[in-house]
Symmetry: C2
Subunit: 118 residues, 2 copies
């Protein structure tokens, strides 16, 4: 593991996607290409309506999700979907996450064969 | 992938460890059981002294790292080490991170065999 400057900066871990609640929202949406209704998404992610709205605002402003409200009043339903841009950015983010795990796994592997990293 | 409430809440992604800069700091320290000098750590993580100090305060208060200053004035050196507690908590955190990647990978696998998740 070369120790060049910035080796552990992980610039690719975009804060818009890395934040814990938003990471959950994106993973849930990734499993549902057809989208999820707002209350389903809130339940799956254990978020209050207010918190979910706040995080969806951040994700929508970044172009990662779309929020579509249909109907009016009590009959209205809000569907949240991941955009193609969101899917691409999420995939890139996951590749960076895998790098973190590889870096950490390299330490464990070295330890297991008695090669403490220096 | 059972869609039970809280399925994507990822409560195990402790914010103390999940924050991007602190994740970098912990991964760097995990590779160096003997510890890292403050300026080395700042360089590896591309952090200013001020930012590194701020994040180390959070990690030290949580008992995950120890910060030891030796010597005085210009001759002083500050060594940062991961504590045994830090090592254990970091390992647990990584297990949760792996779960996120497994969840996301399940989606990709389903797509590749033509089984769009419902």
């Amino acid at each position: 593991m070369a120790d060049t400057p910035g080796r552990f900066a992980y610039d690719g871990l975009d804060r818009v996607l890395h934040e814990k609640a938003r990471l959950g929202i994106l993973t849930a949406l990734a499993t549902r290409p057809a989208g999820l209704l707002f209350p389903e998404l809130a339940s799956l992610c254990s978020l209050t309506d207010g918190n979910l709205n706040r995080h969806l605002d951040v994700l929508a402003q970044a172009g990662l999700v779309s929020v579509a409200k249909e109907g009016q009043g009590r009959a209205s339903r809000t569907t949240v979907r991941m955009t193609p841009t969101g899917r691409q950015r999420f995939r890139e983010y996951l590749a960076h996450l895998e790098q973190v795990l590889r870096d950490a796994a390299a330490v464990e592997a070295a330890r297991n064969v008695g090669l403490e990293p220096t």
